[in-house]
């Protein structure tokens, strides 16, 4: 595979951009589902990094790691959505600002 065609920095910039979008989403958005999606964005930013370095270093273990990470993310989303579903049933909302009773 031609490793010189796209420099590694481009991948890193892409993943960084994606990560920052994810962080911003987590910090700014009030809808819990969107927050969950933003977390997925951050995860995928990490996955891009893994794959990019895997190719760059000519080592397959990075890609294996990325696959594991994707599987984990799927499980996590299933869990997260289940929690949100129950939350919605109980509280009739998915706005995180309304869910602030666990405090001082």
């Amino acid at each position: 595979m031609d490793t010189t065609s796209i420099p590694i920095n481009w991948f890193l910039m892409l993943s960084t951009a994606l990560f920052v979008v994810g962080v911003a989403g987590v910090l700014i958005k009030k809808n819990a589902i969107i927050i969950l999606m933003s977390i997925e964005l951050m995860l995928n930013a990490a996955n891009i990094n893994l794959v990019a370095f895997s190719v760059y270093n000519n080592d397959a273990s990075g890609q294996v790691m990325a696959l594991v990470s994707i599987g984990l993310a799927a499980a996590e989303v299933a869990l997260g959505l289940a929690i949100l579903l129950n939350l919605n049933k109980l509280r009739d909302t998915v706005n995180v600002d309304d869910l602030s009773i666990l405090r001082w």
Binding site: V23, L27, I35, D97, S100, I101, W104
Partner: protein
């Protein structure tokens, strides 16, 4: 006969009563008499061994240095120095062994009768009394001051336990506490003295401390203070002025315990201590001036006088005896102080006589005071009261007891040939001798003579009030009991026979024999006189006849006999013939305040109570305030600061998920920046 192998096992002497302490303490309940026989057997065995050892030591079978010593290492300190546990036997030890073991054995035997009605409690009684005897014997046999101090404290503990034997009576409980606390003042002084002496000599073993070279090498001013404080211990233990006030209260214990405390254990420990540290006192007195010795003599003389005055009008039979003990102990200290003073001034002969007379008086006093106390115990046992005004006319019901008590009274009054005369007369003679060198002793001699007069008076006042005259209300109940035969074991007895059980009268008779003869025996039957056997520096080589001659050619001897007889006659006319109306004299406006002051013990009781209730309690209140406001304030303050901080900080927990996430992100960023800075500072190359 070779006694050395016997001296080697002298450690058995204190051990045997201590074994009895363990046996009776743990298994006493299984014995039918609650351990009384065990205590008698083991204390008696200790007595037999003590008497043999004492016989050996007093008949000159000691090693050539004049003492026998053996020890084991007890606590080894890092520098190779070791505290020892050991035994030290010389003639002084021997006299104490005789006194303690003999009187203690008789008291334990007597207790079988006296404590008969106590039931299950006899186990506790015999346990404690075994311990008491054991530790006192240990104190006497110790070969260093530290060991002595340990036993000294144990003696204090035992007296606390036994004075408070009837602890359910508040007066007994508080008397026990008082005895413990007041003697504690002395004990602390004793400890300070020991620390000073240890710092000076680097050792507390007698043989190291009494070494002439070592004594010459230490700072004499410091040594003086050390001795002064050690004598403070003796003041507390021997109930000397101003720490005398616990002893009259200690009468709350069983009379047998009083007898033991007064005659053999506890109070004699203080006199023994002073006699034991005599080499130091005399050496220091000779080099540094005899301040401590004069102090000892003054305390002794003043105590003898003050205690005797308090005994003059006390209505309680045991109190009278308690005051007389304090007074007689004062005589002993007077003798020791005077003897030491004369010795330190180079008067070897008369000074040695003073020392020996003090120890002689200790021995004689042990016998006649045990006799008096046990007789008083028999009286109290019969009439169930200690008030002499309720007694009277008891001679009919207890002829033996009244006779032996008369012997005791004659002995303490100093009538020849009873034992008290021989020692008391020598004490006064040596004080008079010192009087020609120092005016203070002349004053002390006057006090001593006045005390002798009062002693004779109050002892016979007690005897007449108890045994003669009209029958008091308590006596009448006895008369009723014996004529109606209420008590099964008294029912056969006639009106004029002894109402005291044999187990109590036999010890009394034995002691009475000693009260008559111990003085003469020590002068005549030792082969040498007491002064030739128990001596300091040089033995007095006068034979018994020469001694007798010197006693009876001295005009002062007749003076002391005269005042004693005068005291007895005064008591006879006032309380037997009723020629003198005592009550009228006591109620005269000029006498009344004095009379009341004596009953109030010169206000010492009040004073101590004031110290306890006002001074110490006030100080405690201050401490309480300090504790509450300063200490507690500090602790609570720290708590409050934590609470406040926590209250403030918990606002951080907003409950908003995004705040937390923001903090996490911010934290991560900060950490990365820090990392970057650190790497830059350390010079790590970050380029790919």
């Amino acid at each position: 006969m070779d006694f050395t192998s016997l001296y080697e096992v002298a450690w058995l002497v204190p051990l045997l009563p201590l074994i009895s302490f363990l046996i009776v303490g743990f298994f006493g309940k299984r014995f039918k008499d609650k351990g009384g026989m065990v205590a008698i057997g083991l204390v008696g065995a200790a007595m037999v061994l003590s008497l043999i050892i004492a016989y050996g030591a007093l008949t000159g079978n000691l090693p050539s240095e004049g003492y026998f010593e053996t020890s084991i290492e007890w606590v080894v300190l890092g520098s190779g120095f070791a505290f020892e546990l050991g035994i030290y036997i010389d003639t002084l030890t021997a006299v104490m062994l005789i006194v303690v073991s003999f009187v203690a054995t008789l008291v334990v035997i007597y207790s079988i009768g006296y404590m008969h009605e106590e039931g299950e409690r006899r186990r506790r009684y015999f346990t404690e009394i075994s311990l008491f005897v054991g530790v006192m014997l240990g104190l006497v046999l110790a070969n260093n001051f530290l060991e002595l101090f340990i036993f000294w404290e144990l003696v204090g503990l035992c007296s606390y336990l036994l004075i408070g034997f009837w602890f359910e009576r508040p007066s007994a409980a508080s008397a026990a506490k008082k005895a413990f606390l007041v003697t504690r003042i002395g004990d602390v002084m004793f400890m300070i003295g020991l620390i000073i002496v240890f710092n000076l000599f680097g050792s507390l073993t007698y043989t190291d401390v009494f070494n002439e070279v070592a004594m010459a090498n230490v700072d004499q001013t410091w040594l003086m203070w050390g001795l002064f404080f050690m004598f403070g211990g003796a003041i507390g233990k021997s109930a000397q002025f101003p720490l005398h006030d616990w002893l009259p209260d200690a009468m709350e214990g069983p009379t047998t315990v009083s007898a033991l405390i007064h005659a053999a254990t506890m109070v004699k420990a203080g006199v023994y201590l002073v006699a034991r540290m005599f080499p130091l006192l005399v050496f220091n007195g000779a080099v540094n001036g005899p301040n401590v010795l004069i102090f000892i003599a003054c305390i002794g003389g003043v105590t003898a006088f003050i205690a005797a005055t308090m005994a003059l009008n006390s209505p309680n039979i045991k109190r009278v005896l308690a005051y007389s003990t304090i007074s007689q102990l004062g005589y002993m200290f007077l003798a020791l102080g005077t003897g030491g003073y004369l010795l330190s001034q180079g008067e070897i002969e008369s000074g040695g006589l003073g020392y020996s007379a003090g120890m002689f008086h200790l021995m004689n006093h042990a016998f006649f005071k045990a006799l008096l106390f046990l007789s008083a115990g028999a009286v109290i046992h019969l009439v169930a009261t200690e008030e002499m005004r309720k007694m009277g006319g008891l001679r009919k019901y207890m002829p033996i007891t009244s006779l032996v008590m008369l012997i005791g009274a004659l002995s303490i009054a100093g009538i020849p040939p009873f034992s008290g005369f021989w020692s008391k007369d020598e004490i006064l003679a040596s004080v008079f001798e010192a009087g020609s060198m120092n005016g203070v002793f002349m004053l002390l001699y006057v006090l001593g003579i006045a005390t002798a007069f009062m002693t004779a008076f109050y002892m016979f006042r007690m005897w007449f009030m108890t045994f003669t005259g009209p029958e008091g209300e308590a006596t009448k109940t006895v008369a009723e009991r014996s004529s109606h035969g209420h008590d099964a074991h008294e029912h056969k007895k006639g009106r004029f026979s002894e109402h005291t059980p044999k187990v109590m009268t036999v010890p009394l008779i034995l002691l009475a024999v000693l009260a008559i003869f111990s003085g003469m025996a020590a002068l005549f039957f030792f082969g040498d006189t007491f002064y030739g056997v128990v001596y300091f520096d040089e033995p007095n080589h006068e034979t018994a006849l020469e001694l007798l001659e010197s006693i009876f050619t001295h005009a002062l001897t007749y003076l002391s006999i005269l005042v004693a007889v005068a005291g007895i006659l005064l008591a006879y006319f006032a309380y037997y013939k009723n020629k003198i109306d005592v009550k009228a004299i006591a109620n005269k406006p000029a006498v009344k305040p004095l009379y009341d002051m004596l009953l109030a013990r010169y206000g010492f009781t009040k004073g101590y109570n004031w110290i306890g209730e006002k001074a110490v309690y006030g100080f405690s209140l201050v401490l309480d305030k300090f504790d509450r406001f300063i200490i507690d304030g500090l602790i609570n303050g720290i708590g409050k600061v934590c609470m406040k901080t926590g209250k403030g900080l918990r606002k951080v927990q907003t409950g908003f998920v995004q705040t937390y996430a923001g903090v996490v992100v911010g934290g991560a960023v900060v950490m990365m920046l820090l990392m970057y800075l650190l790497m830059t500072v350390l010079g790590v190359d970050l380029s790919p």
